[in-house]
Symmetry: C2
Subunit: 154 residues, 2 copies
DNA sequence: TTATTATTGATAACTAATATCAATTTCATA
DNA sequence: TATGAAATTGATATTAGTTATCAATAATAA
């Protein structure tokens, strides 16, 4: 089994456990949205609108509100993270490895989103939190600027 | 002159230069909003609504949209920064020292916002940007978690 | 002073997100 | 497998923050 397929299975397991722990129900719609999200949007940052448009083509019976609600469930169960890059629309991203936190560089010209991870930054943040007696739950780091290609064409 | 008063004067100068460079006009309303914002909200993170309510008491003739537009001008001219801490409302903060970038710790329990600055993080980010041939224009770093007092009362 | 242009305030419009609700589906229990 | 309680769904209404519109007004350059 490929690592991606393995990861998808792990997320499915986590989600199923979440569903039963919270006494929720598993439905056809949730299955479809899971498959679509974890099948086509790995490493991407999709808006609810985009995912809905995508799903609607194959499964016209699935409603807009359901996609919203389901992505929120994904976030609550810890298999997706919600991001906001300042354009007013929430973006969702499948979580690949829950141990390695990563961050984003957003090109202000072309809008492309790059990812990066850095251990030194992580340990800095842990230290800062500790120093201030702050229990770190989550953190976000975003770099805005010009990517190399947009930089050249200036 | 106190450092705060000096700073305020500097920001005023920057804003006036911005106004004349862009061929805009200086108005009573903009003066009032400047005074209120830089007089009472130093080191704070005010929403448009809050600032408007505050100003309306003393200057009932100033409209909601004007406060919105003026804060946006403050941001464009580089004397204020806009933040979004995930509650859906934009917050504005007077910029104190444009050289020293600072970041935020937000308590998810009481909503209080703490500030911090860290040179090591800054140099890390510069390095990361350089490595990826990214021209860094701006960055945001937010830590979410429990502040010391909320932590105790758990 | 005059002419041009920007600004203002009231309000309408827009957009993303959330709430409502009757019909339907799921699922634990019998 | 039948039943009934409880969750879910999709369509749509509502909300909240923000932005656009526009006629009246104010600022400024000539």
């Amino acid at each position: 089994m490929t690592p991606v397929a393995q990861m998808k299975m792990d997320r499915r397991k986590t989600f199923n456990e979440f569903i039963s722990r919270k006494r929720l129900k598993s439905t056809k719609q949730r299955d479809v949205i899971f498959e679509e999200f974890f099948g086509n949007y790995m490493g991407r940052h999709v808006t609810v609108e985009e995912l809905y448009e995508d799903i609607k083509r194959k499964y016209p019976y699935i409603g807009f509100a359901t996609v919203y609600r389901t992505l929120k469930l994904f976030r609550e169960s810890g298999i997706a993270s919600e991001r906001n890059f300042g354009d007013g629309k929430a973006r969702y991203e499948p979580i690949r490895d829950e141990r390695e936190h990563h961050h984003h560089m957003i090109c202000t010209e072309c809008g492309k989103i790059y990812e990066f991870a850095n251990n030194q930054v992580e340990s800095c943040l842990n230290q800062i939190a500790k120093l201030n007696e702050f229990k770190l739950e989550n953190h976000k780091l975003e770099i805005y600027g010009l990517c190399s290609s947009c930089r050249e064409s200036r």
